[in-house]
Symmetry: D2
Subunit: 338 residues, 4 copies
């Protein structure tokens, strides 16, 4: 089978021919229909994120995966050949306190790096990682595994801070941001949603996706958010960029007793101080999402409440998709379709 693999950090992926993996026990082989292209792949490809212990090159990247069950191990009972499924990627050790409580994606042992979706087939180590699509198209569903799931979890963290008429600022209207707006409309429609981005075309898309207001991040975005909220600031800010600049906006725009959730891996720092933020404002980060949160995201998609904007790339053009993402040229999400 063909697989796009990373051989050398900083270099493009190579389209290699590799053996189709076997399946044992409760393992499952998936024929990939769609694999979303994520910023994290860029960070791994460039070497910016060091490979975790136990991983080595060459690696098949791609962790937003959906497709069809091709083969199942002898202990598999939940799915059968031909089933359309999405793959939840956030598995951990399974036995620590955090894993036991259902948040495996936050386990110390991160195993998602080599998820392997940029290939014709993908080996899934347990049927427990699969969710049946039940009518969703796998190509449309693939981005939900991260671009949908990650903002969903972040939004769940802010819900206790919201009430009718409260304001949420979403900073960064890319792959995750365009899903965040739809999810907010689906789970918190009585909230005012302020979209922040540097790109006019993204702000235009944001307005179509339900943003109440759009703010140009190249100007004084925090000041504008404070103005729009009558001086109070936003009860919640979700920062999907994570640069110094976006975090400075978040810190200045968040309301008294508000919350800032950092999601974006832009490498920036928010200088947290007692008097630098409004009183009792909370700052936290949100990392991917749990299995049941992924089920929720797929339920939203099945209801028609959310739908990724996608652009398809065949497997042999995966580097082209990555490069377009790096240049900020992808509207919505690029999906590799092997």
């Amino acid at each position: 089978m063909k697989a796009a693999r990373l051989h050398v950090l900083g270099q493009p992926l190579s389209l290699d021919t590799v053996p189709v993996p076997d399946v044992a026990r409760d393992e499952v082989l998936i024929r990939i229909a769609g694999a979303g292209v994520c910023h994290s792949d860029l960070h791994i490809r460039s070497g910016e994120f060091p490979l975790p212990p136990g991983f080595e090159l060459p690696l098949t990247l791609g962790h937003e995966n959906a497709g069809y069950v091709e083969a199942v191990g002898p202990d598999v009972t939940a799915v059968k050949r031909g089933d359309a499924v999405a793959v939840w990627g956030g598995r951990g050790c399974g036995s620590c306190r955090i894993c036991r409580q259902g948040d495996e994606q936050c386990c110390n042992i991160a195993l998602w790096v080599a998820a392997g979706g940029y290939a014709e087939f993908m080996h899934v180590p347990s049927e427990r990682l699969l969710v049946k699509l039940d009518g969703l198209d796998p190509i449309d569903a693939a981005p939900l595994a991260d671009a949908g799931l990650t903002p969903y979890r972040a939004i769940k963290k802010i819900l206790p801070h919201l009430y009718p008429g409260a304001a949420v600022a979403v900073v960064g209207i890319g792959g995750l941001g365009h899903m965040a707006l739809q999810i907010l409309r689906a789970v918190a429609p009585s909230t005012r949603v302020i979209a922040v981005d540097v790109a006019p075309e993204r702000l235009a898309a944001a307005a179509e996706l339900g943003a109440s207001d759009v703010v140009d991040a190249r100007r004084d975005a925090a000041g504008e958010i404070v103005r729009l909220t009558g001086g109070e600031g936003a009860q919640a800010v979700i920062d999907l960029v994570g640069s110094d600049a976006s975090l400075r906006t978040a810190a200045s725009a968040a309301a008294r007793k508000g919350i800032i959730v950092l999601v974006g891996l832009g490498g920036g720092t928010l200088p947290f101080s007692f008097l630098g933020l409004r009183s009792e404002c909370t700052v936290t980060s949100s990392y991917w999402g749990s299995y049941t949160e992924f089920q929720d995201v797929l339920a939203l998609a099945r209801r028609g409440s959310i739908r990724p904007t996608i652009r398809r790339y065949p497997l042999d053009r995966v580097n082209e998709a990555l490069d377009a993402l790096a240049r900020g040229e992808v509207q919505g999400r690029a999906v590799v379709t092997p």
Copy 2:
């Protein structure tokens, strides 16, 4: 001024001429534009609810009130003559632990009975009980003070149990129920809402107000809810009736780890037992709402997310409105317009 007062338990209200109240300190006099007609008034009129200590006949009933500021005491700063306002009725002693935490309506000292909205003018003991309408029509807004606020608080109690695709059953689609459906659509639109009632015309209205499914309470409503939810039952049941029958439905229809919120004052009993409900199901009651919850309800109305269906009655026909309500003939809410 004219006031519709209860002189004898079990008798109709009398249209009396009484002095216009004076205002001192931070007191406010409201010219009533609309006063919603609530089931509680029936319970008080009939003597089913004993008058709390300190109250005596004759009493001017009516606790869903909105109108215009007519006069203000010397210490009033938040409103001025002519302002359109709604009156939050749930005041308590103000100094016990429950009042200090903002839930005055749950205080032992209930002062709402003699709210006094069925009259041309109403004396409000503190400007702190007023919320400015800021553009809402007082006649439309009046029912929000109870028919909107009470289900809003009940819905807040169920929110932690909901997730995309979860089911909520609303039992009783009268004055509170027709608001509950709209509020659910506004704050939890990714939830399946199952409306339950005995009256076909109310079920028809429920479908228009956003119910996903309607269930006839004259048949096996619990069985139907369980069937609609694939055997799981509803993650939340809001019982706005409170009869033995409706509570039996609630108990049988609520899911594992679900919640039942009793709101209706129908006098019924739910027999709670370990094996009689699904595992770890919670039963609680919800009583009116706090001041900030009332602000939230008005914010929903200002956004256009909720709007009571009302039928107007002049003050001298208040008994007619009460009788229609007693016979179950009011669709939405009757509002007295003095």
Copy 3:
């Protein structure tokens, strides 16, 4: 090996000689050191609890188990032969929403009935169900698996209702109750704990275990609790009996906005009505506990904060232990030591 098995509902267990189970995959064989004797065993033995689908007689009962690893399947990595371990019994299907969130004990599929601790050896279907004792004595630790774990979970449910000076009533000072008092002292020491029981010797034990007050359930216990709390009632009531009488006490003794947690399987019913309990009082049940909650309980024991009062019975006297429990003659917990 020897195993005490139930052959006929309503009859004593028989001491049978049966084959020692094999272990495969990640299964583990435990040499039982202690197996706590629980009221549920009485309910199963008598036929009061019907056997769940898939279970048949003869059955080896006993679900409060601790001992030493005797043999491990080939995939086991977390424990090795000789390790002292306790067995968490609350496993479910592992894949439904409730299991995924860590509450397997609440799964529809209850698998604990045939836990099998009344035997020399016990087959554990996965190493994931084991917790290392790390210094605790297995005979002392055995009762923690239910008599410790079940009240711990119930107490976690009431914690949000407590504050310094709040009152908790614990009804029933038997196996679970004598642990509940210790757990409360360990996790909520600023709370006033009121112990309620019919037996003077249990009330005497309660005072030693940290109860602030003891109340004789043969008199007007609810009235006494209300009196002790200055008229407010108890912010939380944990009912470990579950009879009509104990639940009536709970309903009358719980404060405004309080909580009643039903744990005891006494078969009683609490008549929940709007005016029959104080305002916004919540009633719920609590069922056993999760794996991480069991870890917490063992942590409390390791700190010396809790310790079951036990009385040992050899395996061939297990019926004697069950009978003593049925007669209400066990102080603390009976533990079978095969």
Copy 4:
């Protein structure tokens, strides 16, 4: 009467003779028994904290106040002359959303600056700000109004993160820290409490007040906390210092999904970044406490669970107390006793 007033920023307070204030409406005059000396007073005296709008020199400082009711306004009903009371200082506008929910101390309008306890008598603008001492000595109780209340609120924020065996690090064992240790022992005794300070005598006091471990902040405190917790870090860190150094320790010592609560006004900054803290760690601040939280603190004191270590200063030596505090020489809390 005598009052120690600030006339010039950066200068010592002057002992002035001023008129005894009158009381009207629900106002109360308190004869001060004790007024705790707080770091905030230093910040105001030095001009480091600018005076809020509406305040002007000369100002009588002192916001940890307790004493005896000397005179009451005509509307006062809750207290009478001679009652021993403490004064809750955190009042705000009373009508915004935050005030309505009981957190007046977080209101934009901070009115505590001129609390006025460094005087023989203090004017309290409403009886609503008083809590009866019911047996507590006012001199002992005075520091509870801030040095007790502020860590209590911070500890309430961390409670959801704790479980038996979890670790809390308390950084800074001064006036607030020596109360934090006692409060933790009273409300979370199954938690491991790690005290961090630069001063050996404070660490020695910490061990006596219930700290499980003490760590010298002059060395690698974060490394030591991580080592003591087996590599996990502390589930919660309460930073009562708030310097760059203490916040750096907090950031490095907090566990995955942990929480850091900044209380100290040391002017430092915590550089929050996605990879710089452990996964999903939360950073927030905590500001003083609500009225009901103050009631809780006094309840703890009445139970004997907490008791400030105090050193008394007569009113004419208030500058000496402030200077000792500035030099870090106060063990526990200095209390002015006019």
